[in-house]
């Protein structure tokens, strides 16, 4: 057998190489869930409630069942023996309503699945949805969380008439003392509106059942194939080892595909029932109705400070709009916000109360940033409100209060330990790059000419690289297997499940350097529970920091084995492996990796006490989170005639620790900023006061288009994380976290001379125009 491994020639980590994923994606040869065709495949379509709250008085499925091509119709009674849609979070007073896969005798939100039809053709399935007749008796509903908390509000779940889903309290320091010592206390109500994560690929599942060996194969558009397998096995009552979950190409997720959704389990259930493969894919309209929404916070902030700007303490009340049911991690969203409340500032007194509220809406859960954008938006708005109150420059105010570089690792009052950073340095870099003092002069001159120009600053810290296992019900470790094939090529199997992040590229870069082989000899596989060792998945900016570290450690373990085999082949006890060859340090004789690999698999002899095969698996549990940080500065201009906001400049200076591929880091920052800017200016999920979803299409939900996003200037500082051997922190969510306060701060700054202190998102032209017209007092 010929050995083909080629020696590496240059260092790959840090290089902006183009992605190894892309050839399939630019030629139309990638396979997403909807691209999967199996022999005899049938199509499922879901009948959804048009009411936010109603009793189901009856369901007539006869007409649908008799429609040619329809194979079956299932309603709540057919699935009541199956498990519930899971919530993985524990809190002392958490109330978890039983969340059936299909509504039983009542519906709780517009879009609630009531029945599912199965047909031989997707058009027939859609026809049959209209033939299912459901008799509803609508009841009063409540859509706004603060209204849901009022006495006498309709109860979402009859057993809990106060609509409280959970509460959570956390405090650090002495908040009463801080507020007693304060010279000034600023207060604000700050809303982080509901958003639609809006991955371009709608959710979908293809399931097939083998009745002979009673195994189920599920292809699903998911970020967490291994966790989905465990959860789905539980819901279906199927032995887990009989279930194979595959995340094929996944067209974006942004947190929204970190769930077990009812339709995923229903598709699997139907495949088992009818003995034929079944495909189900959401329409965009149903995606808006029935995929989780993000954010949904109403927060009350009080910030206490001295006259000189020294911040003393923060009191926050968070009202989290839960929706009618918890999804997998819903209650963790606001509790994660709480951990980030102090931002980058060193005050030690924090008092946080959270109440999760049931409403007659779709559930909220993870969406890019997941709790952290809300907290960052809050503190970064409050710093600006305080600066305005004290007449201080917001840059100076921030620098006065930052945790200094000498204090790392820094224990926050919320019980987390920031790993490393230099916050003043990154803000100074941003301020210098953007030309801050000159911009302030331009602003003054502009105002004299009636121009409304604003400069917005946001600094952020981010808890990411999730994370130590106590922080996650799934476990927070990640896994990697590295195998040198008999032919010398390298196969990596990672437990993360990338869906756009480019981890096949970055992991190849890491492995090429660590193993000393050419990148073209490396393949990275993921997402199939039958072929990849157990893993956790992709979310919380964890791929590289946690999954990449497991990879590095697996390779390091493997290198010891390579040297053991090298020593045998070189008949020496003093060998070193580097750059694709094992060298005898005494004679200088070498043996290439390919030959070592072939020997390891085919013998005939093996070193004493050494197993055949060059393969190693590592499960790495991180000792801490990693904490990226940054400073974003936005220059905006408000048109007083129309209320439109134009972003004139957007500068993002981020520190995500060591950079594996700068091209991909820029891509993550751009994409993240576009989503945060979307929240700041355009996007909101709107339910009207009868509980109907108003923003149910891209006609109504303003997803940013190319012309709505500015050119983003990026720069970096690089502070390695001491938490992992790669020194990486993570960058997936940074842009989203920084962008919304940076943009809003710029617009508030543009209108500050009118007395404007705060504006809630999205900053629609109508809202801004009214403020301008009314001299800031809308």
């Amino acid at each position: 057998m010929e050995t083909t491994v080629s020696k590496k020639t240059e260092r790959m980590v840090g290089k902006p190489i183009r992605r190894r994923e892309d050839p399939r994606l630019i030629t139309g040869t990638a396979t997403y869930v909807e691209d999967i065709e199996l022999p005899g495949m049938h199509y499922a379509a879901v009948v959804r409630s048009p009411h936010p709250a109603a009793d189901i008085k009856g369901i007539d499925t006869q007409a649908a069942e008799q429609h040619p091509g329809v194979v079956a119709v299932y309603t709540g009674k057919d699935i009541d023996h199956l498990g519930a849609v899971p919530c993985g979070i524990s809190l002392p007073d958490l109330r978890i309503p039983h969340h059936h896969l299909l509504a039983q005798d009542r519906v709780y939100y517009v879009g609630h699945p009531v029945a599912v039809v199965v047909a031989s053709d997707r058009y027939i399935a859609a026809d049959a949805v209209d033939l299912v007749e459901v008799e509803y008796e609508p009841t009063d509903s409540v859509s706004e969380p603060e209204e849901a908390l009022e006495d006498g509000a309709p109860a979402v779940h009859a057993e809990w008439p106060d609509n409280v889903a959970f509460t959570h309290h956390q405090e650090g320091g002495d908040i009463e003392k801080a507020f007693a010592e304060a010279d000034v206390i600023v207060k604000e109500r700050i809303v982080s509106q509901r958003l639609a994560p809006s991955a371009m690929e709608p959710r979908g599942t293809v399931a097939s059942w083998n009745s002979g060996d009673e195994t189920l194969t599920v292809h699903s558009s998911t970020q967490i194939p291994h966790i989905l397998r465990t959860l789905m096995a539980g819901v279906l009552g199927l032995p887990e080892h009989k279930l194979r979950v595959i995340a094929p190409e996944v067209g974006g997720g942004f947190g929204s595909k970190c769930e077990l959704y009812p339709e995923e389990a229903l598709t699997a259930f139907i495949a088992m029932k009818i003995g034929k493969p079944v495909k189900w894919v959401l329409t965009r309209r149903d995606e808006f109705l029935a995929t989780i929404h993000g954010r949904g916070h109403i927060d009350y902030y009080e910030l206490a400070a001295k006259k000189d700007g020294t911040m003393l303490g923060l009191k926050v009340k968070i009202i989290q709009d839960v929706g009618s049911f918890h999804m997998l991690l819903t209650p963790a969203m606001p509790t994660l916000s709480v951990l980030m409340l102090p931002g980058l500032y060193r005050f030690k007194n924090v008092h946080a109360d959270v109440v999760g509220v049931f409403t007659h809406r779709m559930a909220t859960d993870l969406y890019r940033g997941a709790g952290r954008p809300e907290a960052t938006h809050g503190i970064e708005r409050m710093v600006e409100v305080l600066a305005a109150e004290l007449g201080m420059d917001p840059v100076e105010l921030r620098k006065k209060n930052f945790v200094p570089p000498s204090d790392f690792p820094y224990d926050t009052p919320m019980g987390v330990s920031y790993d490393s950073g230099n916050y003043a340095a990154i803000l100074e870099k941003a301020v210098e790059t953007v030309g801050y003092s000159q911009l302030r002069q331009e602003q003054q001159e502009g105002r004299r000419q009636g121009r409304l120009m604003g400069i917005g600053i946001a600094t952020y810290g981010e808890i990411c690289a999730f994370g130590p296992s106590p922080a996650l019900p799934t476990g927070g470790w990640e896994s990697a297997t590295v195998k040198i094939e008999p032919s010398g090529q390298v196969t990596i199997m990672t437990g993360v499940s990338p869906h756009g992040q480019g981890s096949q590229t970055t992991f190849s870069q890491i492995a090429a350097d660590e193993l000393g082989v050419d990148i073209d000899n490396i393949v990275v596989a993921h997402g199939d529970t039958s072929t990849v060792q157990h893993g956790v998945g992709t979310f919380g900016s964890r791929n590289t920091a946690v999954g990449g570290t497991a990879l590095v450690l697996a390779i390091r373990e493997l290198k010891e084995k390579i040297e053991t085999y090298g020593a045998m082949l070189l008949e020496s006890d003093d060998v070193t492996y580097a750059d694709g060859v094992c060298t005898c340090n005494k004679t200088g004789k070498t043996v290439p990796l390919g030959e070592i690999a072939l020997t390891s698999w085919t013998g005939p002899n093996y070193p004493p006490n050494t197993q055949p095969g060059l393969i190693a698996t590592n499960y790495w549990e991180p000792p801490n989170f990693a904490f990226p940080f940054g400073a974003h500065i936005v220059v905006s201009e408000v048109d007083p005639e129309t209320g439109e906001v134009a972003i004139k400049r957007y500068l993002a200076v981020d520190d995500c620790g060591k950079v594996i591929n700068p091209l991909l880091v820029d891509g993550q920052v751009h994409g993240g900023v576009a989503q945060g800017l979307g929240q700041a200016l355009y996007e909101q999920v709107v339910y009207d006061d009868t509980g109907q979803l108003v923003t149910g299409e891209y006609m109504d939900y303003a997803l940013p288009k190319a012309a709505m996003v500015p050119t983003i200037e990026t720069d970096r500082t690089e502070t390695p994380s001491p938490v992992n051997p790669l020194g990486v922190k993570g960058v997936g969510e940074a842009g989203t976290i920084a962008a919304s306060p940076a943009v809003v701060n710029s617009v508030v700054d543009a209108l500050s001379h009118l007395g404007v202190r705060h504006i809630d998102m999205p900053l629609t032209p109508e809202k801004i125009w009214k403020l301008v017209q009314q001299g800031g007092s809308a």
Binding site: R19, Y123, M200, R284, G500, H670, G671, K705
Partner: protein
């Protein structure tokens, strides 16, 4: 009742019997097996289904297959010739103009037409030219770079 249609797809003539209500995107994906064009919204806004019909880009989710009768269709699968990537594909790859890749086939088709019409587009013209194609991953910046790079290559 099915209707016969004759189309030329990526240079190949075809005749098929289709339901009158069959959307062009489903014809391409499920009858012919071209999985490149994607379905992102079914309302002609997201542009993931964009293909070229007689050289002009259309949203194939908003057309019926029967409307394509007698016409010439190019999908993303038809961009590369003789194993050589089209300059637009190459540019998206070089400039990191894609992440999850779901919008990419539509973006590539729109870009091809955009630079045909305007061989030297400004950033602003590119951004307006891409208004019919949504991307949730990239923030568009690397896509704009890719369009510029492709234009320079094709024009140069």
């Amino acid at each position: 009742m099915k209707t016969e249609i004759n189309v030329c797809i990526n240079g190949q003539e075809r005749t098929d019997e289709v339901e009158p209500r069959l959307l062009l995107i489903h014809y391409l994906r499920e009858v012919i097996g071209l999985k490149g064009p994607h379905i992102g919204c079914e309302t002609s806004i997201c542009g993931a289904c964009t293909v070229a019909l007689n050289g002009k880009t259309v949203k194939s989710c908003a057309l019926l297959a029967v409307q394509a009768d007698g016409q010439d269709i190019v999908t993303v699968e038809g961009l590369a010739t003789d194993g050589q990537l089209h300059p637009v594909q190459e540019a998206f790859w070089n400039e990191h103009g894609l992440q999850c890749g779901f919008c990419t086939p539509g973006m590539l088709m729109t870009t091809r037409e955009l630079i045909e019409r305007n061989p030297d587009p400004t950033d602003e013209e590119i951004r307006h030219g891409l208004e019919g194609n949504l991307c949730r991953c990239t923030g568009y910046q690397h896509i704009v770079n890719a369009v510029k790079s492709a234009a320079a290559k094709v024009g140069g």
